[in-house]
Structures are given as structure tokens and as C-alpha cells.
């Protein structure tokens, strides 16, 4: 129950689709989604595999709660070896696609090999087949999604696809579903593109069942009440979205600005949530049209935005003048503060293009920030950018390079390398603000110390969604810790990492953890799934998942030396704000972290730890 008990295995090389039973013993140990798909992935793939070779596999996976009425229970993930990082990748997405996959009767879809020609997978309940995608290859996510629904004359089909960036090898391409929700990070869309797989289209009508419906209703109702009463999930996120953070993080001096040269952005207010709801003088309308929810979500943090029709980015381009998925905090930061661009409509436009052509606004914006620094210091010239004046703060340059990257053309192909390869190519690897090849998100670790350890040790490269200690260090959830102090952060990071891995394995959205602890989640899982599920057991699942991912990365060739931060964050002190004069104190936190993890001083899980967890 809760699991459908079925896996769809798709061999792109031979064009065959086959059903097989889910390994229920593994499901009891790894729960679902991130954990369970990672278990399948590491059992089946050589850790040294080239992410873009046919031997790499890509798994689309739901959690046991996906497709149920639990709040936010519509998530699915894409698990593979990341094209951007070469590390284990698990990118999580909302929208409605996850439910459709579950309602069609599948816990997971495992893609193997590579198709000789572009194809898409069509799944109608038990019936799955690969179809020729030549009419969609070379088109955007938006056109592909609309085109598939039209071709099959079925508006209920849900589609996850890649855009031009994913077809053309942009290293941080996403898989985008429902027009504007994305499995965004680590280049999972690049892997999909390398397999000549354009889209996965699903229609499911079989229903999702749980172990005990009455107990499940009671447990999920209780969970929803907690979300509704919480200030963040009940008020802040619905009204302002994640963008509620822009001014907050700027105030605490942890808003990385212009490739982390600064920690506060003078234009933060202009690209904030408050600005999004303010009526423009020109046309009397606000950027934000309404909020929107993913499947089953009672929070509703999604943004729907509209650009002023006369704005230079959309003038005479009606296809971008309607309402579409708007800016969330990470995108607004990366497209804005990281590049020094303080024009809300330009950032909204860039965000539209990221959705339309399927690439990660975080890695993209951060890479543009790095390229701007290279340009301003004369390392990259105007000839190399194809005539673009790639200066910090230039809205025109940002808009142009966004469209080029979406198509993988011109200087956009260089940006599409990601900051690590780009900065190496131009002889300045130190200017890539990344860990394990993946760019930082929107929190400067000089002003929020725990995030430095979070980034350094994240199994998928720098990421805020592996241990969001911002919750504790800035927002006081579950309890306040001092963001400027390194002491005690090792244990905090481990606790967040393990709990997050459990949330990510359930089918639920991590944003519920602003209000929920695993004590709130456990009764929902317990009522849905076979077996007995307590908060302690879920936390152990999370720790097991974390160590499994770590083992894979070590086997892939990473070592403790890769648990590091760029010198800029370790040596150049923050210039302003509450963290002025501080660097990140990773050297104080990392040894303690290895110790609380039960790893050796070199960062290798001990046999004792592995056997305790059954990895």
C-alpha cells in the first residue's frame, strides 16, 4: 500500500518497456523517491560512469505519499549521476506530474541506454511505449508540452520534458514539468538530453491507495492544521512566496552579490517580494498576479507573474506577455543579486526563459555572475562574448545571454559550461563560486556559518536543499542559533541533512519542514505504508540515504578534499553588514562534522557506521 509495487524499466537502446516488481525489502529500508531510487541507482550503475554515456541511468521516482491527499504530496525526483557535478544527483520537482505517474501505477521509471533517434515515452496506465519525437526535438519545453497534449488530443496528459538547453548539452539543464516546475539542479536534464529522450508524457487513472484511509485522513488533516497555523507556511509563503527572504537575507548580510564580491545588494528591495506585489506606476498592475499551488499543496508558495507589456524584454513578443511562473527567491537572487541586476521585470523574463528552455536559474545566474567578473577584469573580452557588454548590473546583457544559453548558442554555450569549467577555461578557477562543480544558492556562508558546512558536505554539490540551516540560524526554526558562530553547527547540519533526506524520500515537499518535524510526518507515513513508521525510524532512513550517497561519491572519485569552499569565502572577509570582517570557518566545523557522522578524519564512513545503518 502507498507504493504501487511496480517499476517501469525503459531500455532506450532497444526501445522496450517492461514492468517489474518493486523491491519491497529496499522500500522498507529506503522508503521511496530520493532514498529508494538512489539505492536502485547505486546497485545498477558503475560509480565511475560518464554522466553523459549510455551506461548512465536516469530514474524518475515518486514517494509513497505521492498522489495522496497529504499536504504537498505531489513530488517526484530525478535520480542520476549529475552532468554538472559527476556526483550523485537527485532533483526534486512539484507540479502535477508526480501524481500522474503514481496514478498510472508506477513508483519509478528507470531509463537505460540511449535512443538512436529522439523519442518520448507515453504512459497510459499500464501501457507504455516509446514514440518518435522528431516533431518536438528542437522545440521548447512549452511547445513540447502543448504539442504532446494536442497530438494525443488529451489535455489531461502531464508532461515532463527538456528544452533546447538540455538537447544541446548545457550542463545545468533541468527536467521541467507542468510548464514551470523543475527538477532543477545538477544537470539532470542534460543527462536526459544525452539519451535522446525529449519528454515523458503520462496519463494515470488507476487511483492511489493507502494502508488505512481513516487513519490517513486523520493524520493528514492534523498535518494540514499545523501548516495553516504556522506563520511561515500559513501566511508568509502563500502571500510572498520564498521571495519573502530577499530583504531578510540582505539585512543579515548574507545575500551573495556580484559573484560573492559583496554580501549585501543595494538593489535587493527592487527585486523583493514586496516589490512584486507593488503596483507599477506605468500600468497600475503588480508583477504578481496570484499565488499557485502544486498538487495537494495547502501552502501555495508558487508565483504567477506578468511582465509589463512595454518592457524591453517582451515588447512586440506577445508569447511572453501573459501570466507565467514567476520568481522564487533562489531564481531572483541568482538572476539578480549574483549579477547585480536590480530590474524585476528583466529577472522575471529571464525566469520565463529558464522555464521555457529548461535550465537551472541558480547555476545559470551564478555562472553569469562569474562571467561578468571575468569580463570586468578584462579576462573575457567583448569579442569573446559576441559583442555583449557583460557588465555587472546590465539588464540588457542578462536578457541577451539568457536567451543564448537557452538555445545553447554563441556565448550562451560558454555560460552553459557552468562556472567551474568556464572559469577553468579562462584560467581563473578560483572565481567559480561552487562546490563539486555546482554553484552556490542564495546564502553567503560568511554570514550564515552553518551553510558553509552544508555546501561543503552536500552530496550533490553546493545546495540549500540538503540542509537548510538558514531555518535555525536566521528564522529560529526549530530553535535559534547564532549565524555568525561556527560552534555547534556540525551537529545541526547532520540533523538537517538526515531529516531532509527522509522528507525527500516520502513524496512530500521540504517546505513543510518550516512547520513540520518528522513527528508530524511519521503518523502520515505510518497510516499510508506497510510496516510501522516512527520519527526515529524516518531519521534513520535519512541517515542511511546520506551515507549511501556519500559512499557512491567516494567510489566515483571524490574525497574529503572536495568537502571544501572557494578561497573567497575562506579568506576574503565580508565587507559589510553583521558579518563584516568574517570568513567562513569551515576548518572548525568539518572535523567535528566527520566525527558526529561516524566517519574517519578523511571523511570516509567507518565500517561500524555502515553496518549500524545497514548500508
Amino acid at each position: 500500500m502507498a507504493w504501487t509495487g511496480k517499476i517501469l524499466r525503459v531500455d532506450l537502446g532497444t526501445g522496450t518497456c517492461a514492468s517489474e516488481p518493486l523491491n519491497m525489502e529496499w522500500a522498507q529500508n529506503y522508503l521511496g523517491q530520493r532514498g529508494l531510487a538512489t539505492k536502485y541507482y547505486v546497485e545498477e550503475c558503475d560509480p565511475k560512469v560518464d554522466p553523459l554515456s549510455p551506461d548512465n541511468k536516469m530514474i524518475m521516482t515518486t514517494g509513497p505519499l505521492t498522489g495522496t491527499c497529504a499536504s504537498t504530496a505531489g513530488r517526484y525526483s530525478v535520480v542520476t549521476k549529475g552532468a554538472l557535478t559527476g556526483a550523485i544527483a537527485c532533483s526534486n520537482s512539484g507540479g502535477f506530474f508526480g501524481n500522474e505517474m503514481k496514478n498510472a501505477g508506477w513508483d519509478m521509471i528507470i531509463f537505460e541506454g540511449k535512443s538512436a533517434n529522439p523519442v518520448y515515452l507515453l504512459v497510459e496506465n499500464d501501457n507504455a511505449r516509446l514514440l518518435d519525437a522528431s516533431e518536438f526535438w528542437g522545440t521548447s519545453v512549452w511547445d513540447t508540452e502543448e504539442g504532446i497534449k494536442k497530438k494525443h488530443n488529451d489535455p489531461h496528459i502531464r508532461v515532463a520534458s527538456i528544452g533546447l538547453s538540455g538537447e544541446r548539452g548545457v550542463k545545468f539543464a533541468c527536467v521541467v514539468n507542468d510548464m514551470d516546475r523543475a527538477a532543477g539542479r545538477s544537470g539532470v536534464g542534460t543527462v536526459m538530453g544525452s539519451k535522446n529522450l525529449k519528454a515523458v508524457a503520462i496519463r494515470g487513472t488507476q487511483g492511489v491507495r493507502v494502508k488505512d484511509f481513516a487513519a490517513f485522513r486523520a493524520a493528514t488533516d492534523a498535518g494540514k492544521a499545523v501548516l495553516a497555523e504556522n506563520a511561515v507556511t500559513g501566511q508568509g509563503l502563500p502571500a510572498y512566496g520564498t521571495q519573502v527572504l530577499m530583504n531578510v537575507i540582505n539585512e543579515v548580510g548574507a545575500l551573495p552579490t556580484r559573484n560573492h564580491l559583496d554580501v549585501q545588494f543595494e538593489g535587493a528591495g527592487d527585486i523583493s517580494a514586496e516589490k512584486m506585489v507593488e503596483k507599477r506606476q506605468s500600468d497600475g498592475k503588480a508583477n504578481l498576479i496570484t499565488n499557485a499551488a502544486c498538487f495537494a499543496c495547502t501552502i501555495g508558495c508558487g508565483r504567477v507573474s506578468q511582465i509589463e507589456r512595454t518592457h524591453f524584454t517582451v515588447k512586440d513578443r506577445p508569447e511572453y506577455q501573459g501570466a507565467k511562473g514567476g520568481l522564487e527567491y533562489e531564481a531572483a537572487w541568482a538572476l539578480g543579486a549574483a549579477t547585480g541586476v536590480g530590474d524585476l521585470d528583466t529577472l522575471t523574463f529571464a525566469n520565463f526563459i529558464c522555464n521555457e528552455q529548461g535550465f537551472d536559474p541558480i547555476s545559470f545566474g551564478a555562472t553569469v555572475g562569474a562571467a561578468m567578473e571575468l569580463y570586468e577584469t578584462g579576462v573575457i573580452t567583448k569579442e569573446q562574448t559576441g559583442g555583449i557588454e557583460l557588465k555587472f548590473g546590465s539588464a540588457e546583457a542578462l536578457a541577451e545571454v539568457t536567451e543564448l544559453t537557452g538555445r545553447g548558442e554563441g556565448f550562451g554555450a560558454e555560460i552553459g559550461l557552468g562556472s567551474k569549467l568556464l572559469c577553468e577555461k579562462y584560467g581563473h578557477p578560483e572565481l567559480s563560486m561552487s562546490v563539486k562543480g555546482q554553484e552556490f544558492p542564495a546564502y553567503d556562508s560568511r554570514g550564515i556559518q552553518g551553510m558553509g558546512l552544508t555546501y561543503a558536505t552536500s552530496n550533490r554539490g553546493a545546495c540549500h536543499l540538503r540542509s537548510y540551516t538558514v531555518a535555525s540560524e536566521i528564522l529560529g526554526i526549530p530553535e535559534k542559533t547564532d549565524p555568525l558562530v561556527a560552534d555547534g553547527k556540525a551537529g545541526l547540519v547532520k540533523a538537517f541533512q538526515d531529516a531532509t533526506a527522509a522528507f525527500d524520500s516520502s513524496g512530500l515537499c521540504i517546505f513543510t519542514s518550516f512547520a513540520w518535524t518528522l513527528e508530524d510526518v511519521a503518523p502520515q507515513i505510518d497510516a499510508a505504508c506497510d510496516g510501522e513508521w516512527s520519527a526515529e525510524r524516518l531519521l534513520e532512513v535519512g541517515e542511511r540515504v546520506w551515507n549511501l550517497e556519500r559512499q557512491f561519491n567516494l567510489a566515483a572519485g571524490f574525497t574529503g578534499k572536495d568537502d571544501n569552499l572557494p578561497a573567497r569565502l575562506l579568506k576574503d572577509a565580508a565587507k559589510a553588514g553583521p558579518a563584516k570582517g568574517l570568513t567562513n570557518q569551515l576548518d572548525k566545523m568539518l572535523p567535528e562534522y566527520y566525527e558526529v557522522r561516524g566517519w574517519t578524519p578523511d571523511g570516509v564512513p567507518t565500517n561500524e557506521t555502515l553496518s549500524r545503518l545497514g548500508v
Binding site: 491527499c69 487511483g207 493507502v210 495553516a228 499565488n291 499551488a293 501555495g300
Partner: protein, 159 residues
């Protein structure tokens, strides 16, 4: 006293909790494709609109049914399909001007909203009160109140 479902689209976030609740009550599983209420998303306008049967007083579906499988529940005013009588001829789906009665190929019967015997699950599940179950004679009351508030008659009386 009968009550009606009242739908205020401007409050809807498109989460589909109504569809989940409806399908669970009627089908015994979470299955939005079998929901009697549907949420429509108008992408370019950023609008979400839940839509279901209005329970017409003179119900065209009921009148069109050749085997009298659709009857009036006098308690709630709902027009209710009898699975035992329905032969799946689909004439009601043609007769309904609003498209809110539909054929279910898994059972060979038609499905429509029956107001859950007076306790509509969609209204209970809606997290934003976009769907409520209110006095059938006063479905315009809140709109009247809003407009009443905008008049200036009596302004200043509270000062």
C-alpha cells in the same frame, strides 16, 4: 433548508485537494481523474476555476434519462445517479449544458456531483475556502455584503 456549493475562483490556488477528497469519497482511492469536481487552470491569465454541477432545479440530465436513473434527493436538492439503474447511454452527458455529468468507462455508468448526502467533501477539504457549502437561497450574500460595504450611506455613523 437546502444548501448550495459556492465557488469563489479568486481564492483557488489549484491544489486539487477538492478532487482528491471527491475521488476518495466516491471511488475509495485518490484519483483526480474520477473527481466530480474539476479545477481548470487558465495558464496565461493565472486563474484557477473549480467547476461542478449546480444541481439545476429543472435538471436537464434528469429529464433526458430514458431509464429514470437520475432522481432528486429531496433533503439536499442533489440530482443523484443510481448505479443500479444507469445503463451508460450517455444521453444525460449530451443534455447537460455545463458538461458536469460524465461517463466513467471503468464502470460503464455516468458520474456527477451528489453533494455527498449533504456534507460535500470538496468544501471540507478546500484549504482556502474557495469552495463553501452555504444557504441555497443566499449564495450572493457575501457579494452583497461586499458591495454594501462600498456604499457611502451611513458613513461616519460609527465615529
Amino acid at each position: 433548508m437546502q444548501r448550495s456549493l459556492s465557488i469563489e475562483p479568486e481564492k483557488c490556488t489549484g491544489c486539487l485537494q477538492c478532487e482528491l477528497a471527491c475521488s476518495l469519497d466516491n471511488e475509495g482511492a485518490f484519483n483526480p481523474s474520477k473527481s466530480r469536481i474539476r479545477v481548470f487552470k487558465f495558464e496565461d491569465e493565472g486563474r484557477f476555476v473549480p467547476y461542478t454541477c449546480t444541481q439545476c432545479a429543472e435538471a436537464w440530465c434528469l429529464k433526458a434519462c430514458p431509464v429514470d436513473a437520475i432522481s432528486l434527493d429531496p433533503e439536499t436538492g442533489a440530482k443523484v445517479v443510481s448505479d443500479a439503474l444507469c445503463v451508460g447511454c450517455k444521453v444525460c452527458t449530451i443534455a447537460c449544458p455545463f458538461g458536469t455529468i460524465n461517463y466513467n468507462q471503468d464502470t460503464g455508468k455516468v458520474i456527477k456531483c451528489d453533494l455527498c448526502e449533504g456534507e460535500p467533501e470538496c468544501a471540507t477539504a478546500c484549504p482556502t475556502d474557495a469552495i463553501t457549502y452555504i444557504d441555497a437561497n443566499w449564495t450572493g450574500l457575501e457579494r452583497m455584503r461586499a458591495w454594501a460595504q462600498r456604499t457611502d450611506a451611513g458613513a461616519g455613523a460609527a465615529e
